[in-house]
Amino acid sequence: KGRQVLENIDENNRVIKMFLGFRKELDEKHDRYEKIVKLSRDITIENKRIIFLLHSTNTDIEGKREAVLDEACKRLKVITDENFKTIASILKDFDSYQYQKAYTSGLQEFIEALVFYQFLHSNKIESWESINKFFQYEQDGEKFSLLFPQLDFILGIADFTGELMRRCINNLGVGNVSDCFKTCNFVKDIYTGFLGIINPGAKEMGRKTYVLKQSLAKMELVCYNIQIRGSEIPKHMLVNVIESSDMNTEEDEGFY
């Protein structure tokens, strides 16, 4: 009889003892997961702010640009050296893939910010391998690392192109014409890269490629407009337009 059985079950019962152990294991795992989710949310927010900051490099004052890049660099370093390190140390003794979904959004946002910084700073993006080195840690003589899936790297790059699109159009807004062509070509290359990838069953990549395609179309239209408008002025002036961003301190009154 069920009722009787239930009432005779006490904490010494073998099954109950087993399950008390299971409870402990499940609770610990759950708590660990929740903790990483929270850490990841903080990372996401900070990276969004860094991206925001990086957009203000859209200036001709070289000093300001440098200052902004320096600040971004420092804050990115804090994220790898503190925030991600905390996650890595929590997961030190566990299969990271079990918790990977908990920090994937923070990681992708970080890549977006980092790659944006790299592009602005040195006009290129580093390989997965060299970025992966940031996630190798050492503490008290013990070495450990954060799992950094290549897919997150690629998806972060896809998001990054959205920021490039914003930058390209803002550039035009402030008259920074040559940057548009450069940025647009860069995104064309990334788009070509995405077109070449064969990745069965990665739905998210399909979605992001679609967004990327739309961003690229917007940038191409910007370049088109610069070209078609520039076509009406004498050639020597056109050069000025295209290179205007290189003549930082010069006054070019009367023409623009």
């Binding site: 009889k1 069920g2 059985v5 239930l6 079950i9 019962n13 073998r14 099954v15 109950i16 087993m18 399950f19 008390l20 299971f22 409870r23 294991e25 499940l26 609770d27 759950h30 299969d95 990271s96 893939y97 079990q98 990977q100 006009n123 290129k124 993006i125 580093e126 390989s127 997965w128 391998e129 290549q150 790297f153 690629i154 790059i157 860069f186 064309k188 290359d189 990334i190 070509t192 890269g193 995405f194 070449g196 990838i197 064969i198 990745n199 069965p200």
Partner: protein, 228 residues
């Protein structure tokens, strides 16, 4: 950065990474076929419990099932050699479902043979998942297997009455009540395990109805007999 550099530094390594992963998955899928075949045979073998009251037939089925587990263990052995270290949870979608079913079958065999609940360690041994370098038995898969067991036992309780075995439902009732008490200790979050656990109450209910039907008719055997 030239177009070629982007391709070379970024996309080519990524494509390689995907290709590697695909190859691993392909291998895993092939090994899983080797595991799923004996799995299906064990299921069929143990279906005998719904068709006979004969203890010897059931013992024989358990014996046959245990032999089939040999192939299962061989399969996991091979799998252990294929899954990359530290990436259990990257690929476990491929074997999760089969493992849960096998946990259920192991637990059913132990119930039929010994009458008690198999523990996780023993289950891992039966499946061949103990002391592996890359594989292990996931707690949630084991628990899922136990929930499947309760469902099978509720059907078993009904059919034993059909075959005139009035003792079995009481044994099942006690067994599942303990299981139920165990699960009620767990704080499950809103995942598949929680969902599956929500259905446990219907199995408990069904079993209790059978016991109730027997009680009404005075068909409940002397309690002494029930003890396993």
């Amino acid at each position: 950065m030239s177009s070629d550099n982007i391709l070379e530094n970024i996309f080519t390594p990524f494509q390689e990474c995907i290709n590697n992963e695909q190859d691993v998955r392909e291998e895993i899928r092939n090994i899983m076929k080797d595991i799923e075949k004996p799995l299906r045979e064990i299921v069929t073998t143990l279906q005998i419990i719904h068709r006979t009251h004969n203890g010897e037939e059931i013992s024989a089925a358990c014996f046959a099932a245990r032999e089939l587990f040999e192939s299962v263990r061989a399969g996991y052995e091979k799998l252990d050699g294929v899954v990359p270290a530290g990436q259990y949870y990257r690929y476990n979608d491929h074997w999760r479902f089969a493992t849960q079913r096998l946990c259920f079958l192991a637990a059913l065999i132990i119930f039929l043979e010994k009458g008690f609940l198999v523990d996780k360690e023993t289950t891992a041994q039966i499946l061949g998942l103990h002391e592996k370098s890359r594989l292990h038995l996931d707690l949630e898969d084991y628990l899922m297997g136990l929930l499947n067991l309760a469902t099978e036992l509720s059907r078993f309780a009904v059919n034993s009455v059909t075959y005139g075995d009035y003792n079995r439902p009481l044994q099942i009732s006690k067994f599942v009540a303990e299981l139920n008490a165990g699960f009620r200790l767990l704080n499950l979050k809103n995942d598949s395990l929680r969902k599956r656990f929500d259905a446990l109450k219907y199995d408990v209910k069904k079993i209790e109805e059978v016991v109730y039907d027997l009680s009404l008719r005075g068909l409940v055997p002397n309690r002494g007999e029930v003890v396993e």
